[in-house]
Symmetry: C2
Subunit: 321 residues, 2 copies
């Protein structure tokens, strides 16, 4: 079908319909009418064998997930996603139906969040690589960064953790579980939900610091601490572990919640008062799990305040996978 | 050195210094203050073995070229580039110095055009893939698209053609040439110059339709014709072939100019009067080479108006390389 034929097909699937969009897919660049709000942009690659395993992530789910990861980054800035550009590298023997499925997965999620795919390119390559740029904005003058955490603030998290990592184990190791539990966990891994509304809520309630949990609670908290030049102390018993994970993985549940990653919940810091306001206003669970300290280290403690040891703290794509 | 170490290094190299930039590299997304102009965005991948051959394109040149291709797309919209996001996929054995060189090449060009690298990601992959998203804007309410060509308009081109394709042959086939000529041609291939000022000039003079020549004059003119639902008739003797190419490649020079690609000159359509105004105002050669017709085909004719036959009309990454 060729590069141009494939672009035509995907342009038709992506459609238009955004009133500020002047030029969508098919010209040298996409063009839209700007405005006065803060603009946000972020990019990530989603590469076969590195970020996903095609044996357990079908094309539709790969499309969903590649975009969900980017929407989650906009959520973590307290923004609203608007446009996406999709750079696809595909082996020559890729079936057109596979590419359609990839786009179907992306578009399902895009439509749910009012995101328009406005451009991209397609290249031949020995393996599938999906690089998505997300553009968004904050309607107010505030955004959430990683660099504003202050000693004395609480550390809190949306939702419950560990389900995505547990889902990956169910999918890749064929672990036998109650079918309903298995479906829930697999879905957490394959169809993560970006916390867009919650990111906006954090901004509205006065939160200044947040990150989304992609590499694992500990690793991502480490990013906040590094950017803010602070430390943190987490009481592991307060970490909200997804109940299905507790049931299915018993003694390993906490490890999955602390370092599993890919849950795409928001981890944030704020005063106890602000955390309380967020808790009351949010439609998902919000749990305080520790506090920001003046040091430089992330320390884990148990109920008695004794150091808690964890084998695997998170991972870096470039070195550990 | 790891993903995070590498990101720190590249963030330091990319620097900041743009007064509208609120958050650069290192957060979940980049953030900048928006404005009221038309915003432009475009992405392209630059993949080892597909878009470039590392044996003839050193890391610095790969960086320059990967970004130049994107700046050229903004030029072809009549815009001014402002921000770039760089998604890098690198084999684990990539030397840090290689990545530094890649960035050095990109940053040389970026600085020349006032572009700030505001974000990106780094992944492990079996081969080098550089995906760059460029963001820009048009300070006026006009932009150049591919879809506004009208029958009766002239087809014109900036600069001279064929040097990049000739340079590729010199580099890859070791063709022996006068050293000065060889250097000039190799440079045309390795360090293309995006026509930003010329793109703005086209807009200011009332041009509505343009594309940059990446795949070859004929192939890219075909894109304008397809998008505008028109045809075109090109008088091949009027095509401005780079003199060094004429001297070095004699009878093959015209083929290189018509279908060689990667010259990143601007191909545009406008009334004879507007083309004339552009010619007078431009600081580079501007040549009318034919006209837009009511048909659907791109036809090539010689001085006598007889059909001119060309073997290779251009290429699509996905099928022909």
């Amino acid at each position: 079908m060729g590069e141009f034929g494939l672009i035509d097909l995907l342009a038709k699937m992506a459609g238009g319909g955004d009133e500020r969009l002047l030029i969508g897919i098919g010209d040298d660049a996409a063009a839209w009418q700007g405005d006065d709000s803060i603009q946000l942009a972020s990019v990530d690659s989603f590469i076969q064998g590195v970020h996903y395993n095609p044996a357990i992530t079908p094309w539709q789910e790969a499309g969903w997930k590649a975009l969900a990861v980017k929407l989650s980054d906009i959520a973590a800035m307290g923004g609203i996603p608007r446009y996406a550009l999709v750079s696809l590298a595909l082996p020559t023997d890729t079936e057109v139906d596979d590419v359609k499925n990839l786009y179907t997965g992306m578009l399902k999620l895009a439509k749910q969040y009012g995101v328009t795919i406005i451009g991209g390119d397609i290249s031949n390559a020995p393996l599938v690589a999906i690089s998505i740029t997300i553009l968004g904005s904050s309607p107010t003058k505030q955004i959430l960064t990683r660099a504003a955490a202050q000693p004395g603030e609480m550390v809190a998290v949306t939702g419950r953790l560990g389900a995505a990592a547990a889902g990956l184990e169910v999918l890749s190791k064929g672990r036998k579980l109650d079918p309903e539990a298995a479906t829930r966990l697999k879905n957490a891994f394959l169809h993560p939900t970006p916390r867009i509304a919650e990111g906006r809520l954090l901004v509205e309630q006065g939160v200044k610091t947040a990150i989304d949990i992609s590499d694992g609670l500990i690793a991502d908290l480490g990013q906040i601490c590094k950017a803010s030049q602070v430390g943190a102390r987490i009481e592991v018993e307060r970490v909200p572990v997804e109940p299905t994970v507790k049931t299915a993985f018993s003694e390993r549940a906490l490890e999955l919640a602390l370092s599993g990653g890919e849950d795409y919940e928001l981890l944030f810091t704020a005063s106890a008062e602000v955390v309380d306001k967020v808790k009351k206003a949010a439609s998902c669970p919000v749990t305080a799990i520790g506090e920001i300290t003046a040091g430089e280290l992330v320390t884990l403690v148990d109920k008695q305040g004794n150091p808690f040891k964890l084998d695997r703290a998170g991972w870096e794509h470039f070195t550990n996978r």
